[in-house]
């Protein structure tokens, strides 16, 4: 399997990455190379192997349901580009 230009344009859009027309051929080639590697892995017979959700052989530790965080809004918002009335401001988004 390999990528064509349309695939790359779509993925770039989903990832919100701006690619210029010049960059697309090189990106397409690179991604196709990665897919080649995946094709090779797909060819390995994995029947009888339990799917692995995580490489660490341990399980999730749970936390008791207690509130441990206090209000640090001023500190966190000190590095925000824009705030108002306690809100983080971002370029206008309307669906």
């Amino acid at each position: 399997m390999s990528f064509d230009r349309t695939d790359v344009e779509k993925i770039a859009h989903l990832a919100r990455i701006a690619l210029t027309d010049d960059e697309i051929p090189a990106t397409t080639a690179k991604l196709s190379g990665i897919l080649g590697l995946i094709d090779k892995m797909q060819a390995v017979d994995t029947r009888g192997v339990t799917p692995l959700a995580h490489p660490l052989e341990t399980t999730q530790r749970l936390r008791p349901d207690t509130v441990t965080e206090s209000n640090q809004r001023d500190a966190y918002q000190a590095i925000a580009p824009a705030t108002e009335a306690g809100l983080y401001l971002v370029p206008k988004v309307i669906e």
Binding site: R16, H54, Q60, T66, E69, Y76, L87, L89, V90, K92
Partner: protein, 482 residues
């Protein structure tokens, strides 16, 4: 063309935990913007999520209550999309290995029939923040207090065939999560939100039609209206030669219409993959048993018990068992007065209309279960008639006495059952209406019924409603027909 409606619901239930699913921030509703958003909730680099044990426990509780397969090893996954109220760029959710697998819920329809609706799965995930689109110098404001609030997304099979069935299912889920104490069910505050997947197909066709998803419908009434409106739109579209496009739509209650929000093929490529920041969650059988032991009597079990133990109709039993607090109230009234049918009638009749009018919850009822039960006892032992009972009930609601007995005593409402006294009163009534008595006696049998009612009315009026109605009826008939 006969169309069949196919509906599946996705219900997001906010779990009632003190802290968020992956951080120690508080989940209190209505706090000042961003005062409950920690570095983890803000998606800052270098932070790691730690799963809240209560969120898992509550999800498992739901799974056990719907007889579902529990994901003994369940895995969190990242659902990737870009939106400013999701600062990490992905929502931590579950995909292939949810905590709750296949289960089912039985719903009772208006005509009393029971229908089984499949639950495909229920998975844990985090909520997103809120975007405020009012004008902030041409920008949007983001409040991340809600980001990271634990949600249980309950996905049904496309098993419902009408808007009414969908509402019945949603109400069943709502009632269940409140019984279990895992969600407060407050739809106005968004604690329970519903997405409706709606499609139509010609009756008899096996394949499903193309579906539309109506997002975030926040009341039972709107679920019904939104589905019916959307069905109408799809039928008109197809009958005019058009095609339904798979897309997400929004319901506008003011205009009673749905409108397109975004089309699926464009936006919904979520590129799920297992979240490397969270390890698989492994549940032990002993833990399941511990949670199972905590399960309360569930609405359906309670309903069945109300039918078998008290002889209530299925309808009465399902109304009374829909809410745990209401069921407890009814059972207390029943215990005090030892008459389930009267208790059910009063709770569903006078009490419910009183609470509706005053917009009160059952817990805030001005008449306690003990007071109502005590009053029903007085109906049963003929101290008061059903009609006088309404006055007593009103007095209790207005705080005019601590008990029905006190009200009856203070207002002199005790029913007159002394037949001698009633006869004297009736003689007076008949003497005062001598003309009508003559007409009655001269009238044909068929016309007498209505005329008889007139005398009963006069007699009850004369006794200020206190004469025992059965005795009045009997004695009057004797006197008039003799």
């Amino acid at each position: 063309m006969q169309w069949e409606i196919v509906i599946g619901l996705e219900i997001h239930a906010q779990l009632t935990t003190a802290s968020k699913i992956f951080s120690g921030s508080a989940t209190t509703f209505g706090a000042e913007p961003n005062t409950q958003a920690s570095l983890i909730d803000l998606g800052m680099p270098g932070t790691l999520p730690v799963l809240n044990a209560q969120a898992v426990r509550k999800a498992v509780k739901f799974g056990l209550a719907i007889d579902a397969e529990i994901g003994m090893t369940n895995v969190f996954a990242r659902k990737n999309y870009f939106y400013p109220d999701l600062p990490k760029g992905y929502q931590t959710s579950q995909m292939d290995h949810p905590v709750v697998g296949k289960g089912f819920l039985d719903i009772t329809l208006d005509d009393g029939t029971v229908k089984r609706v499949g639950v495909t799965r229920a998975h844990l995930e985090e909520d997103a923040g809120k975007s405020l689109h009012e004008d902030f110098q041409g920008m949007s404001g983001i409040d991340l207090n809600r980001a990271g609030t634990p949600l249980l997304e309950i996905v049904s099979e496309p098993d419902m065939r009408s808007a009414k069935e969908a509402v019945a299912y949603a109400k069943t889920v709502h009632s269940l999560v409140r019984y279990l104490g895992i969600c407060d069910g407050n739809m106005a505050e968004g604690s329970l939100r519903c997405d409706c997947n709606v499609s139509i197909r010609p009756k008899g066709q096996a394949e499903f039609g193309t579906r539309c998803e109506i997002k975030n419908v926040n009341s039972f009434r709107f679920i019904e209206k939104a589905i019916n409106t959307e069905v109408q739109r799809q039928i008109e579209l197809i009958e005019d030669g058009g095609k339904v496009v798979q897309e997400t739509r929004l319901y506008d209650p003011n205009k009673d219409e749905t409108r397109s929000m975004r089309s699926k093929e464009e936006a919904n490529d979520y590129r799920y993959f297992p979240c490397p920041d969270l390890l698989p969650v492994v549940l032990e059988p002993a833990f399941l048993e511990e949670v199972r032991a905590e399960l309360p009597e569930l609405p359906q079990q309670k309903r069945e018990r109300f039918v078998s133990q008290f002889g209530l109709s299925t309808y009465d039993a399902s109304v009374l068992s829909a809410q745990r607090e209401l069921a407890d109230y009814f059972e207390e009234v029943q215990r005090v007065c030892d008459d389930a049918k009267l208790a059910a009638n009063w709770v569903m009749g006078e009490l419910s209309s009183l609470l509706n009018k005053a917009d009160l919850d059952i817990e805030q009822s001005p008449v306690s279960a003990a007071q109502l039960g005590g009053m029903i006892q007085r109906i049963k032992d003929n101290t008061i008639s059903g009609k006088i009972a309404k006055m007593v009930f009103e007095a209790l609601a207005n705080g005019e006495g601590d008990s029905a007995d006190a009200v009856i005593e203070a207002k002199g409402l005790k029913q007159v059952t002394d037949s001698g006294a009633i006869e004297t009163m009736l003689d007076e009534v008949l003497a005062a209406n001598a003309e009508q008595v003559e007409q009655y006696r001269a009238a044909e049998e068929a016309k007498r019924g209505k005329m008889f009612g007139f005398f009963v009315g006069q007699a009850m009026k004369a006794s200020k409603g206190k004469a025992n109605p059965q005795q009045v009826n009997e004695l009057l008939r004797k006197k008039l027909d003799s």
